[in-house]
Every structure is written in structure tokens, then in C-alpha cells.
């Protein structure tokens, strides 16, 4: 069974600890530019949402990569992986990603995308608000269904 990273924008408070955790995992220091996850905030409305690589099954970044550096992981991994040694820095993957979640880091001059910290994503581990969850893909929407289900349950119990 594969895993996926679920995002709950309703729980995000915009603290950006996910970015710090990611950058720290990558470099042992704090540089949000190195982070593979990015939190967007609308200050007037006080709304925030974290965005990151969706590990697509049919990934534009893989399709356009001329060297095979960006490739699908072994069967069962559900990941899109990057082989830095084969990367020529052409940035076609950056252009192709519809989510803006493949980045060219101008400080390191390397392509950067989420590798799920080899199956133990630090952004999830350190999010203080449960806005990120690393779940089995068969159960990906269970938590969200439960929230909606509980609302319906309350309504029906009230009617009864």
C-alpha cells in the first residue's frame, strides 16, 4: 500500500514550521528557500495553505525530463524521484509542474522537490496543528469523511 501526504488548510495557522523542518532536514540549517514545502498566506483574510509536490501518477516533470533524472520510483513506492547526478539543471521540470512544487534553488543551483524524507516527512512530524498528515493512500480521505460524517450525524440526531 502506498502513502500520500494530505493537507488540511482548515487547520493551518500559517506558522511555517513545515518549511523550517524541511529546510533543516535538507541542510541542517534554516533557509526557507531550501524548503520543498511552501506555505502561502493571505494576510487580509488570515488564510494559509501549505503546498508541495503531489507525487503525480502521470507527472509532467517526469515526461519533460530529457535525461531521466526525474523518474518514477520502484513499483509500490508512489513517489516521483530525482537523481541529482543525472540532472543537467535545464529546469523543464520547474516549467512543467502545474503546482509550482518543483523548485530551482538559486543558492545551491540544484533542482529541489519533496522526497518525503524517505518516507518519514519532517513537515508532518513537526506541524503543531495537524494540518499535514502522512496517510495510507487507501485511507487518504477517511479523516475528512469523518468530519463531514460527524456533522451529518449531529443533524440526524437532532432531528430524531
Amino acid at each position: 500500500m502506498g502513502k500520500m501526504l494530505m493537507i488540511y488548510p482548515d487547520k493551518c495557522t500559517g506558522c511555517r514550521i513545515c518549511e523550517l523542518a524541511c529546510s533543516f532536514q535538507q541542510e541542517g540549517s534554516f533557509r526557507p528557500g531550501a524548503s520543498r514545502i511552501k506555505t502561502l498566506t493571505w494576510e487580509r483574510e488570515g488564510f494559509s495553505v501549505p503546498l508541495l509536490c503531489q507525487q503525480c501518477d502521470d507527472a509532467g516533470c517526469v515526461s519533460v525530463c530529457p535525461t531521466g533524472a526525474m523518474h518514477y520510483g520502484p513499483p509500490g513506492s508512489d513517489l516521483v524521484e530525482l537523481n541529482q547526478d543525472a540532472c543537467i539543471g535545464c529546469k523543464l521540470c520547474v516549467i512543467a509542474c502545474p503546482f509550482g512544487s518543483v523548485n530551482y534553488d538559486s543558492a545551491t543551483r540544484l533542482i529541489a522537490k519533496c522526497d518525503t524524507c524517505a518516507g518519514a516527512p519532517q513537515c508532518v512530524a513537526m506541524c503543531p496543528n495537524g494540518a499535514l498528515e502522512w496517510v495510507d493512500d487507501a485511507e487518504q480521505t477517511r479523516a475528512r469523511k469523518r468530519v463531514v460524517g460527524e456533522k451529518l450525524k449531529a443533524v440526524f440526531e437532532e432531528v430524531k
Binding site: 482548515d10 495557522t13 500559517g14 506558522c15 511555517r16 514550521i17 523550517l20 523542518a21 533543516f24 541542510e27 541542517g28 540549517s29 534554516f30 533557509r31 526557507p32 528557500g33 531550501a34 494576510e43 487580509r44 483574510e45 488570515g46 488564510f47 538559486s106 543558492a107 513537526m126 503543531p128 496543528n129
Partner: protein, 600 residues
């Protein structure tokens, strides 16, 4: 250097020059950063007799070593300058994301000197630093100015700016960042206004480095766990914000009501955090790297007070609530929004209006003085209008903009200003909670709760059980809180982290981050050093032991109703012990031995 960036930026607005300096390693070690380092820089470089609104005053914008890391709730910065409200070393503290961005741009501090002749803003992108024309933004409120300057620079830029109140040199003007966060107190916004500096706009892309990454991470995880496990730091503040305190303080009988004429407000519940959560709250909000999320994104649909924004904090809800006799939470929220837009300190603004209400009810101010506003306690609409007038600086607003002390003094009744050292005291009645009274009286920037938050032990049960009405042990308690808080502020941490962690945890994170070993003792000594540095400054600007006091009302007029009925503050039972435990003489002057011990 680790934790620190090693660079300080110095900007001279008179000559339009910018230069970089190395962060002094010894200064960083001894004063840590933010409030500590900034306070030392002001004491060294500004003449205590300087006009705070003249070109000879300086401003320091300083994050701390934690700022920009994932130290829990450790993303703050301070604005340090000579206060135009009361001449003290103003060190106003704010969260948001501005502080971390300064660190990523590479700076432990930005020192602003001199005065520009025309409105300018400072645009920092890493090493590229430019003083730019701000004529087009002068006069804009905070929200619009932030949008406009981002359009001219970078849409993700972080902005610390003033609103019209700072431009008009209001002595209670704040510096705002990311629209809703405030370096609120002691009139720091007016200093920025006097320098014709509308904003500092920053984009940073560099790193904050760590001496021992594994040790730092493990310290951070342990601290985060402790804060999350604390009932206040974990669930309480996120669910109800700081405004959860309204009902708690009202029950203790220490919710100052109608300009401190009483300590109990019968309608308090309508203005508290529970009511806010049920009616105006949209969602909780966190500052940078915050694990607590006490911030409130709120909204009001009330046609009289429409708006969306952030707040109120407890002290704001108290000032525009109980202290003004107002129980309409929509009006309180609206007054908060206006303060954020005009760039006003919500505590001093609301307490000044409360003072004006008492002056008006006693006939010392007339309707003619107030431009026709019927400024009686409980008049929510008049209160909101008074905030607007102060923000724009029109009519009666000009007098409110100077704070309650000058207003009350101008009509011959300074005793009705609820201030110490001319700064308004916040939401904890010193008659109902003795230790906080001692803290207000000895506070180095005047009336302020976050210099020594003894409430944590006296009311919130965070330490050994303590009777808020007793004076025994309060001097020692106060000193412990004041020293710890000074050191904590200097790291860039939020005071609320202490709902879960204390000195040992902070010292461990600081050591792992910077690679300089701070024992607990050394960490607390840095706090004591910071406190004494601020004290020495106050003595130089002319304060003396006579100023370590409270308004006569709090020493002589007992609370009338509620759980603290009959109480006054018994400062004289605590102050001599405070001086003695501090190692100060009977006149409140640090002894030579103490100064030597602290290397001052």
C-alpha cells in the same frame, strides 16, 4: 557565528548612507540579541538627554538568535529606541514574519540613525539595501501601505511600517508588521515618523546556521512537547486566545473597570475569549514558528462595526471593554482593527479613552473639548469614533494621541491617569494582584505586564500556589520573572513559551544553537544585566525611586466590588525588599558591587 548572522546594518537617513558592521561577539554573548543587544546599543550610542523625536535618537530593529529557527514560538523581533512617551529605553516586541526575514537577509540588527527630510522607506533584499522615496505612501493606513510597497518591491516582502498615527508623531503610535502584528508600546511608531521612515521592507534568502543541529533539534522537540502538554500553552490559548483571561481576572476581582474605579465588571463575559470564539472568531493564527497559535482571525458583520482582521488580545479587549465600561464585543473588535490600521498601541489607546471618559464624567472635559462626543463610560460608538480621531489626528484626537498622562495633566488632574512613568498600565489590577503592582511600579518602560508576568504564578497556577492578595515573596517572584523575561525577550522567543518551558530549556536551546555554552545561571545573569542596563539608563534620564510607584488611586482607594473588594496595593511592603534583593541601594540605584558582578 551560529544563531547570530554576524552582521549589523547601519542606515543613516540624514546622509542617505548604508554600511555593514560585524556583530560584536562579546556583546552578542552578554546581551544575547533583540531587546538585550538593542538596549545596549541605545545606551552606548544615544545621549540620554537627546530629544527622542530628534535626529540624534536612533532606532534598532533586532531579531534574536532564535528568530528564523524552529525554536518553538521563537520568531520575534524588537524595536528599541529612546521612548518619546516617557524617555525610557523602549523595547517593543512583535511576532509575525518580519523578524525572521531580517535574519534570512543576514542581519542581527538594523540601526537607523538621523532623519530624512522627505518620506522614505528602506528596501532590503539580502545585501542590496536602498533608501527609497515613500512620498506616495505617506498618509496611507497600514494595510494599504503594505500592499502598495509590496507592489513596488516584491509580493512576498515582509513589511514593518507606521500608519498615520506614527506619521503624526502620536506618542502612543506603534510599528506594525504583516498588517496585524504590532511592536505596540512606548510610542516607537512616533520615532519612525520623526525620521520620516514609513517602512522597512525586506526579502531575505540566506540561512540561519546551527552550531549543533542534532542537539538543537532534540532540545526543540522536547520544548515543543512541554508547551503542547501545558493546559494554557497547549489547548487553552489556541481555543480562546489570550482573551480567555477576561473571565479569569474578573473572577479574581482584578479586572480594572471604568479607568480602575473598580476591579470587577458585571458584563465581562460578553467581552471574553469564549464569547469571541462563539461570535467573531474565524480561525486561530500563528506567528512564525509558533506552536501555540493564540492569534485570532476575526470578523464582524455588525453594520455599526463591520470589518475583518486580527484580534483582540486580552489587554485590548479589557481596555476597550471593562476599562471603558463597554460590553459590545463587535465594537471592541472594530476599535482593535482601527488601531491596527492607523498604527496605534491598543493598550495605551484604550486606557487613554477610559481616562478621558472619567475626565468627561467628572466635568474636567466638556462636549466642546471632545468635538461633541458624549464620552461617558459604556458609549461604544463614541469610543470607536475617538479611536478614529486619534488615528487621523483630527480635533480632540490630537489630545488623545499624547496618551492619558498628558491629557489628564492638561486639565489639572494627572492623578486620574492610570500610568506608571507615563505609560498606561494594562489589564491586571494591582489591588487584586499584589505582585503585578510591584512589577508595574518597577517596570523599566513604565506600566507594562510583559516585563514581569507574575500573573502566571499569582493567578494562573503555573507555579507553586500563591495568594494574589499577599505581599510576601512577591519581590523575589517579580525579580525572577523580570530577569527571565529580559533574557527570553533577547533570544527572540515569545513570552507564552513560558507556558511549558523556562530558563533551563531556553538556555539549552540557546547553547545548542549558538555553540556558546550558557549555564542556567549565566542565562539568567544576562537577563539581570539587561534589566540593570535599562535601569541605569532610566536613572540617567532623570527617573528616581520616587517614580517607582503607582497612581494614588491604587494605593488608597479600595476596590469596591467583586472578589478583591476592600483591597489596595501595598507597594510599601514590597518595594524596599525588591531594592535589596536586586542589589540596589535604598534609592533604587544599583550598587558598585552589583555593577561589577554584571560587568556593567
Amino acid at each position: 557565528m551560529y544563531g547570530w548572522t554576524g552582521t549589523i546594518l547601519r542606515v543613516d537617513l540624514t546622509h542617505g548612507t548604508v554600511r555593514r558592521e560585524r556583530t560584536d561577539r562579546e556583546l552578542a554573548h552578554d546581551y544575547i540579541g533583540a531587546r538585550g543587544m538593542g538596549g545596549r546599543i541605545i545606551a552606548d550610542e544615544v545621549d540620554p538627554q537627546a530629544d527622542p523625536l530628534g535626529p540624534e535618537n536612533k532606532m534598532v530593529f533586532a531579531p534574536g538568535p532564535f528568530t528564523g529557527t524552529f525554536a518553538p514560538s521563537g520568531g520575534r523581533y524588537n524595536v528599541i529606541t529612546k521612548s518619546p512617551l516617557n524617555n525610557t529605553i523602549a523595547a517593543s516586541n512583535s511576532g509575525g514574519t518580519f523578524g525572521p526575514e531580517l535574519k534570512y537577509a543576514g542581519y542581527d540588527a538594523v540601526i537607523v540613525e538621523g532623519r530624512s527630510r522627505t518620506p522614505v522607506y528602506l528596501w532590503i533584499r539580502d545585501d542590496e539595501v536602498v533608501i527609497r522615496d515613500a512620498s506616495a505612501f505617506w498618509g496611507m493606513n497600514v494595510h494599504d501601505a503594505v500592499d502598495a510597497m509590496r507592489a513596488e518591491t516584491d509580493e512576498d516582502a515582509k513589511v514593518a511600517c507606521i500608519g498615520p498615527a506614527g506619521e503624526n508623531l502620536s506618542l502612543i503610535a506603534s510599528v506594525m508588521n504583516e498588517m496585524h502584528r504590532a511592536a505596540g508600546r512606548t510610542g516607537v511608531g512616533a520615532v519612525m515618523g520623526s525620521k520620516k521612515l514609513k517602512a522597512i521592507v525586506v526579502v531575505g534568502t540566506g540561512p540561519v546556521t546551527v552550531a549543533d543541529p542534532d542537539r538543537f533539534k532534540s532540545a526543540v522537540l522536547s520544548c515543543t512537547g512541554k508547551i503542547k502538554a501545558n493546559p494554557v500553552g497547549g489547548a487553552g490559548l489556541k481555543a480562546y486566545g489570550t482573551n480567555v483571561l477576561v473571565n479569569i481576572l474578573n473572577e479574581v476581582g482584578a479586572l480594572p473597570t471604568r479607568n480602575f474605579q473598580d476591579g470587577h465588571f458585571p458584563n465581562a463575559d460578553k467581552t471574553g475569549g469564549e464569547s469571541l470564539a462563539a461570535n467573531q472568531l474565524v480561525r486561530p493564527k500563528g506567528c512564525y514558528a509558533c506552536v501555540i497559535s493564540c492569534g485570532r482571525v476575526t470578523k464582524t458583520d455588525n453594520p455599526l462595526y463591520p470589518g475583518m482582521g486580527e484580534g483582540p488580545e486580552y489587554e485590548t479587549a479589557w481596555g476597550f471593554g471593562a476599562d471603558s465600561g463597554v460590553d459590545n464585543l463587535d465594537a471592541i473588535v472594530k476599535a482593535n482593527y482601527l488601531c491596527n490600521e492607523y498604527g496605534l498601541d491598543t493598550i495605551s489607546m484604550s486606557a487613554t479613552i477610559a481616562c478621558a471618559m472619567e475626565l468627561y464624567e467628572r466635568g474636567y472635559l466638556t462636549k466642546e473639548d471632545t468635538d461633541g462626543l458624549d464620552l461617558v463610560f459604556g458609549n461604544a460608538q463614541a469610543m470607536v469614533e475617538a479611536v478614529r480621531k486619534t488615528g487621523t489626528g483630527e480635533g480632540f484626537g490630537k489630545r488623545l494621541a499624547e496618551g492619558s498622562y498628558r491629557l489628564a495633566e492638561s486639565v489639572g488632574h494627572p492623578e486620574l491617569s492610570m500610568t506608571t512613568k507615563k505609560q498606561e498600565m494594562p489589564a491586571y489590577d494591582p489591588r487584586g494582584v499584589q505582585g503585578i503592582g510591584l512589577n508595574y511600579a518597577t517596570g523599566n518602560r513604565g506600566g507594562c505586564h510583559v516585563r514581569g508576568y507574575t500573573i502566571s504564578y499569582e493567578v494562573l497556577g503555573q507555579g507553586p500556589p500563591m495568594d494574589p492578595h499577599a505581599t510576601e515573596g512577591k519581590a523575589a517572584l517579580d525579580i525572577a520573572f523580570q530577569n527571565l523575561t529580559a533574557a527570553l525577550d533577547a533570544t527572540g522567543s515569545c513570552l507564552f513559551a513560558t507556558f511549558g518551558i523556562g530558563g533551563p530549556e531556553l538556555a539549552e536551546m540557546l547553547s545548542a544553537l549558538t555553540g556558546e555554552e550558557y549555564s542556567l545561571e549565566e542565562f539568567l545573569r544576562a537577563g539581570e544585566r539587561i534589566w540593570n542596563n535599562e535601569r541605569l539608563w532610566n536613572l540617567k534620564v532623570g527617573y528616581s525611586a520616587a517614580d517607582d510607584t503607582l497612581p494614588k488611586r491604587l494605593l488608597e482607594e479600595p476596590i469596591k466590588t467583586g472578589a478583591s473588594r476592600g483591597e489596595v496595593n501595598r507597594l510599601d511592603e514590597m518595594l524596599p525588599e525588591y531594592y535589596s534583593l536586586r542589589g540596589w541601594d535604598a534609592d533604587g540605584v544599583p550598587t558598585q558591587a552589583k555593577l561589577e558582578e554584571l560587568a556593567l
